[in-house]
């Protein structure tokens, strides 16, 4: 299986923006490498530890959903992550090769009746930790923004 592809443009922009594209298979080492790449950029841009925690969690949830639900755990399918880190905001886009889904069909995991269901918390956590989350129709792309206060 091919290793993940990383294309990046770092430190070449007057605004100190670091951006890149990573194409991954569902391999832990590739996901860890993505996380390391993004989180180093986040830390270098001066975001604090709480911000790093938030971005790591949201990105982990988005990528896990993309592999598990979007790609239906097909090992031949990839997930593509676009990232752009600037001093005041972090933009992430996670795209799978699946048909998409209806976010409205996901039950609220915080309702009492759903509290003991093991799954279904990924989107909720992304929305809680990122400034904005948009699920782009037909649902196989999630765009998230984290803005520094």
């Amino acid at each position: 299986m091919a290793a993940s592809k990383h294309d990046s443009d770092s430190n070449g922009d007057a605004d100190d923006v670091r951006r890149g594209v990573v194409v991954m298979h569902d391999v832990r080492e590739e996901i860890d490498r993505l996380q390391d790449t993004v989180l180093v950029a986040v830390a270098d841009a001066g975001f604090d530890e709480a911000s790093t925690f938030a971005v790591r969690l949201a990105l982990e949830e988005a990528v896990a959903n993309a592999f598990r639900h979007g790609n239906s755990e097909d090992p031949s399918k990839t997930v593509t992550v676009h990232y752009e880190v600037s001093p005041h905001r972090i933009d992430l886009a996670v795209e799978d090769e699946g048909p998409g889904f209806d976010p409205g069909a996901v039950p609220d995991p915080t309702e009492d009746a759903n509290l003991e269901i093991p799954s279904g918390r990924g989107i909720m956590l992304m929305r809680a930790y990122m400034t904005s989350v948009e699920i782009v129709a037909p649902g196989n792309r999630i765009e998230m923004v984290f803005r520094r206060d």
Binding site: E116, R121, M124
Partner: protein, 119 residues
């Protein structure tokens, strides 16, 4: 003391099985599944299991890990057992709070506090 396996350290104290995580990150789904199975086997081994899960070393976890904990909780309840969580760092505790899972689990600041609550 059982040797660490699946990133878990399991000890027995006063009739309570205590689980500590060796890894700082509980993110990998395959590993989470193994953890869930290992703890599940621990629960199945006792008629009325008493289980303490300590998160002292845990810095990051995913919703898959929360799901595994919920499944363990369901197993423990089905066997009329008791489950406590302890030593959860503030950032991780916030994840439990946001998901309202702080209402599902009995969470204590320290293992000692948790141990005192087992009946």
């Amino acid at each position: 003391m059982n040797p660490a396996s699946n990133g878990l350290q399991i000890t027995e104290q006063d009739g309570v099985s205590r689980v500590d995580f060796v890894e700082r990150n509980i993110l990998d789904e395959a590993n989470i599944q193994q953890i869930g199975e290992a703890i599940g086997a621990l629960v199945d081994a006792s008629s009325r299991p008493r289980l303490l899960i300590c998160f002292e070393n845990v810095e990051h976890l995913s919703s898959a890990a929360l799901g595994a904990l919920i499944t363990v909780n369901t197993k423990v309840k089905a066997r009329d057992g008791q489950l406590r969580l302890s030593n959860i760092r503030p950032q991780i505790l916030e994840v439990f709070r946001i998901t309202r899972l702080d209402r599902l689990f009995e969470i204590h600041s320290t293992a000692e506090e948790a141990m005192a609550t087992f009946g």
